[in-house]
């Protein structure tokens, strides 16, 4: 059974809906991941040894929590977080519900990427800012975020692509999305048309995100 063009045309509304669901889920999760993950990443960095807000206990504690969440397989996290999802969204099914787990998984992922991007900054630049009498907030805003801007944008790209992968499992909670469509129709029902169509869409989506991300990261970099 190959690719059936007529079958594909028939399925366009379904694919379209799934596509929009994917975009919806990863957009929400990405926004939450950036809003919460970015500050966590910065905190992980500035509380590290030798930095201006050095605090071993805080750093180790936060690091532990981040690792904890990251070590749980996403499919298990998805189920384990059902009570939290119910509490936040008021429901445990649908794309919005899936966004909760996706966000929880993406926050520590993005936080570690931010931390790594900040580590790339020459310590001397931070030291020069301290010597100039800059406040910690100025250092975060004008030195850390600015100098790591390009790396953080690459991190956003990486997080987005990973989220697309994770979102395929959203079907477990009836979350929908392209990945879910591929698994339920393409894989379980041996519907090759939909399998090929969804995989191609995912390939194109990932390629576009990666190219756009790389482009932006390069354009904003003044080095």
């Amino acid at each position: 059974m190959g690719f059936d063009y007529h079958h594909f045309i028939e399925l366009i509304p379904d694919i379209n809906l799934a596509f929009m669901q994917t975009v919806y889920m990863i957009t929400i999760s990405l926004i939450v991941a950036v809003l919460i993950g970015l500050p966590i990443g910065i905190l992980l960095f500035v509380t590290d040894k030798g930095l201006f807000l050095e605090n071993r206990w805080f750093k180790n504690g936060l690091g532990f929590v981040v690792n904890l969440v990251r070590s749980i397989p996403f499919i298990i996290l998805l189920v384990a977080l059902l009570p939290l999802t119910d509490w936040i969204v008021g429901s445990t099914i649908g794309p919005t519900a899936a966004s909760v787990s996706l966000s929880v998984a993406a926050i520590p992922f993005f936080a570690r990427i931010v931390e790594t991007a900040l580590r790339e900054i020459d310590k001397g630049v931070i030291e020069a800012a301290i010597a100039a009498g800059a406040t910690p907030w100025m250092i975060v805003k004008d030195v850390l975020l600015l100098e790591a801007k390009s790396g953080i944008i690459s991190g956003v790209t990486l997080t987005l692509v990973s989220l697309i992968g994770f979102s395929a499992m959203a079907g477990t909670v009836g979350g929908g999305g392209i990945g879910d469509l591929a698994i339920r129709f393409g894989y379980y029902r041996y519907d090759n048309t939909i399998m090929i169509a969804t995989v191609v869409i995912l390939i194109i989506l990932v390629q576009i995100i990666q190219l756009a991300g790389d482009f932006i990261a390069k354009v904003v970099d003044k080095r």
Binding site: D122, G124, V125, E127, A128, A129, I130, A131, A132, G133, A134, T135, M138, D142, V143, L146, E147, K149, V220, D221, K222, R223
Partner: protein, 337 residues
């Protein structure tokens, strides 16, 4: 201006405790350009970084303009740092900010109102000679230009002290010269006390008034640059001086000498007076110059000549006494009298 008292900085390493700075006491006067010289690992960088508490000393005290910095923390320390500028070997400019914004950053740290920032940045750029590079990013500048931006940034808040951490070590000789003359100009016109560390003795010779030589965390020699050049007390200091003023004489030449070889050092104005020719006229000796030069340190001549003297023993002794009598220094370096 800067008083360092019994300063020690101990580092914990895998091999145990290492004394980066070992019980150093120094006083740096207002308006002075003070050089700290030493090989890498001598502790000069740690010492400099202790002055603005980029590194907190393990023990000892640092007073800058009467304020005991070692007693300050947090916000008070930050405000004190506004009055201590610092420049670095690798410049450390914010690569994602333009030249203008890099300098404005310092002003923002001091809460300078936004409407006064533009004028002040332009004034600073004018002073360091980069008025046309205002909107350029650091990656488009040469090393010397980057250091000029560093200097403008360091001077933004009218500091009383400027710390220079190997500020010219990454620059070529011509650029080094231009940066040094800029530092000299800043020192003269703005009366800013400058402390610099370097391993290049010619930097010290060029602009410093006083200097210290460090080895294994300790200051082993300290004083006016001129005096140290004229009369080094330690082997290490000699080594540093020889890196800029070398008086090595080939072995073959030395072996060919029969009379005693003396080193005559003239200090100050007398270096230009004809003492040697007077001596050769008054005494029955002949002199054979082997080496020599007149160095200008802070525009004061320091003459060092190495010569072989030939003649009767009494005449040679008399001639040496004559030179010493004329306020010069004589050292017999080979062949007794």
């Amino acid at each position: 201006m800067i008083k360092i008292r019994n300063l020690s900085k101990i580092y914990k390493t895998k091999k145990g405790l290492v004394k980066g700075v070992d019980d150093v006491s120094l006083t740096i006067q207002k308006g002075e350009i003070y050089g700290i010289v030493g090989y890498s690992g001598a502790g000069k960088s740690s010492l400099l970084r202790c002055i603005n508490l980029l590194e907190r000393p393990t023990s000892g005290q640092i007073k800058v303009d009467g304020t005991d910095l070692t007693s300050l923390k947090g916000e008070d320390l930050r405000l004190a740092r506004l009055k201590i500028g610092m420049i670095f070997q690798h410049f450390y400019l914010i690569s994602q900010k333009t030249v203008f914004d890099n300098i404005a950053f310092s002003l923002k740290a001091a809460n300078v109102p936004a409407n006064r920032i533009k004028g002040r940045v332009e004034e600073l750029l004018e002073m360091v000679g980069l008025a046309d590079k205002k909107d350029v990013y650091p990656s488009q500048l040469s090393g010397g230009q980057k250091q000029r931006v560093g200097i403008a940034r360091a001077l933004a808040n009218n500091p009383k002290v400027l710390l220079c951490d190997e500020a010219t070590s990454a620059l070529d000789p011509t650029t080094t010269k231009s940066i040094l003359s800029l530092l000299k100009k800043i020192n003269k016109e703005l009366h800013i006390t400058i402390v610099l560390i370097t391993h290049e003795m010619n930097v010290v010779k060029e602009i410093c008034n006083r200097m210290a030589i460090m080895q294994s965390g300790k200051v082993i020699e300290e004083g006016a640059v001129y005096d140290i050049f004229a009369n080094p007390q330690t082997e290490l200091t000699n080594e540093f001086i020889e890196s800029v003023v070398s008086f090595e004489i080939p072995e073959v030449i030395l072996n060919g000498c029969t009379g005693p070889i003396v080193k005559v050092i003239f200090k100050g104005k007398i270096a230009s007076e004809g003492i040697i020719s007077d001596m050769l006229q008054q005494f029955n000796v002949s002199g054979n110059f082997l080496h020599g030069s007149i160095e200008y340190i802070q525009e004061i001549p320091l003459g060092i000549f190495i010569m072989e003297l030939k003649g009767e023993k009494e005449e040679i002794e008399g001639s040496l006494q004559f030179i010493e009598g004329r306020a010069a220094q004589v050292e017999v370096i080979r062949g007794g009298l």
